[in-house]
């Protein structure tokens, strides 16, 4: 009886120790928290509806729907070594869904000279079939190049006739010649560099988006000119790509 008891205890002890192998490098989890502002004023779902924000062109706008994709998170060390996470997250500010995202893969603590992600999807990821994005109706039709929206921003503005008018600021892969054989003038996904982060423990990284930047520079966005049917407009898509470069920044880091 005593030997059996010792045997059972030994098995339990060995089993309970197996996940604490001292030879493994410790890892920590990373959580990305997405916050949004209009030139510093926090934007939450309850701010949607009323036409109350003034963009760089002087147009007054309101939000109806706002969601976008980030993907391919990369942690870069000083020696150039990179940890690349082949992931994506559909941030839905309209319903405040996926506002925090924790990749399954953990990373070693350390000093990272840059943390970056892709706005939208690169062409490889964009050509894949993502069931969750299909279910969210985030597709771009095949005759517009296929794949997925990078961002869907629907709202209203007061136009030059002082009337409310809808706009659909939808960022996709820029496309020409819509139809059976579309062509792609240039890539319009882009890398967002958050900068250096010293990771010592489980970490929460705030990613801020200033939505006003999408209308600001280098292209002063005139909603009276560019408001709807912008998906097949490669000029508009390239302008969105250029304006989005300064929309993101690193916020607070908690660990």
């Amino acid at each position: 009886m005593n030997r059996l008891f010792v045997l059972l205890c030994s098995i339990m002890l060995l089993t309970s120790c197996s996940s604490n192998d001292d030879g493994e490098t410790p890892t920590v989890s990373t959580t990305f928290k997405f916050t949004h502002n209009w030139d510093g004023a926090l934007i939450r779902d309850y701010n949607f509806g009323p036409i109350q924000y003034i963009n760089a062109n002087g147009d007054i706008i309101g939000f109806e729907r706002f969601r976008y994709l980030i993907s391919d998170i990369v942690f870069t060390k000083a020696n150039g070594e990179q940890i690349e996470l082949d992931v994506y997250n559909l941030v839905d500010l309209t319903n405040e869904v996926n506002m925090e995202y924790t990749p399954e893969t953990q990373i070693p603590p350390g000093s990272y000279t840059n943390v970056s992600f892709t706005f939208g999807l690169d062409n490889e990821d964009n050509s894949e079939n993502h069931l969750d994005l299909n279910s969210a109706s985030f597709n771009v039709p095949d005759n517009l190049g296929g794949g997925y929206h990078y961002m869907q921003f629907d709202g209203k503005f007061i136009n030059s006739n002082m009337q409310e008018q809808g706009f659909n600021y939808h960022a996709i892969r820029a496309v020409d010649n819509p139809g059976a054989n579309p062509t792609f003038p240039q890539d319009t996904f882009f890398t967002v560099n958050l900068g250096a982060i010293n990771v010592t423990n489980d970490v929460e990284i705030e990613v801020q988006m200033n939505i006003a930047e999408w209308f600001k520079s280098p292209n002063l966005w005139d909603l009276n000119v560019y408001n709807q049917m912008l998906m097949p407009n490669s000029t508009a898509q390239i302008m969105m790509y250029e304006n989005g470069q300064d929309a993101f920044s690193l916020g607070e880091v908690f660990q």
């Binding site: 009886m1 030997r3 059996l4 008891f5 949607f48 509806g49 009323p50 109806e64 729907r65 079939n129 069931l131 969750d132 299909n134 279910s135 109706s137 597709n139 039709p141 095949d142 005759n143 517009l144 629907d154 709202g155 209203k156 009337q163 409310e164 008018q165 809808g166 706009f167 659909n168 819509p178 139809g179 709807q228 049917m229 912008l230 998906m231 097949p232």
Partner: protein
Amino acid sequence: MKKGVFLVFITLLCLNCSDEDTGYEPTPQPLDIPQIFSDNIIAPVIPTDNPQTMEGVALGKQLFFDRILSADGTQSCASCHGPQSAFTDNTPTSAGIDGVFGTRNSMPLFNLAWNYGERFTWDGKELSLERQAEEPVQNPIELHSNWDDVVDRLQNHPEYPELFQHAFNTSTITKELTTKAIAQFERTLISANSKFDRYSLGQTSLTAQELNGLDVFLREDKGDCFHCHGNPNNPLWTDNDFHNNGLDTTFDDLGLGAVSGDPNDNGKFRTPSLRNLAFTAPYMHDGRFATLDEVINHYSEGLQDSPTIDPLMKQLDQGGVQLTTQEKADLKAFLLSLSDPSFINNPEFQN
């Protein structure tokens, strides 16, 4: 040592036996997920407290078609949700047992388990299929019963206690078990065998007109239907979300706004699926459009502005997207390719 081995053996035996003590269990009957769905969209929503079972689905089907749920025994769920109409009605609104008409068009019933947001009815006020099934029974202009009476009738019925015993392991009938059974049946109402589905699977081809119609549907500078109504990669053909699609300048029916209390939601209704349009006329939440042509004309020239109109509605100053006569005909041909005669004729779904 021998006693110790015996003790461990007995313990293991007890652990192995513990699951068998509950006796009878209904037979699991998972949904038969069509390939066009499994290839493209995520898994359906099945509540953990109401798994699909063969006995539960059979009971739900019998209840769905049984007039015992109405106060005077004259109507069932199927009275307003008939199989030949893809489980809707062929009138703009429907009359209840007292001959009083409601204010909303009966919604067609199919692919309900893929409503990921689980907001049912036109205004989204029902937060699960089980809860939705409660309301029509006691609605005074629908089945006009009360649930206590319904449960009494079912409990005193010669067959139902045994059917509940088989479905839920108890012969004590409750409102909750009754709606669970109906919801199980409703989740089996799957439509995924339209001509377009077979085209997507490489099993048939579309006509030139249908393909042109698909192009109109998907072009942002033409119909731009896909933002709300899905696309070949989202074969539900709805986003199950809420939109004001420009029917009125003012609202007699606030839709989602009456549920949320948010004036920004006034005039918003859930996007219906475009499947089975051949069987589901009339259209819109109040059944105002008798034909598909009227619906297409609405989006082409008939949009009405209002404070909450969805910004996805295009060219509002011109009344809509201004399709040509040919584009309208092509679009209609494509839309009809989404209808699924095998669904309305499926013997599993008939009374």
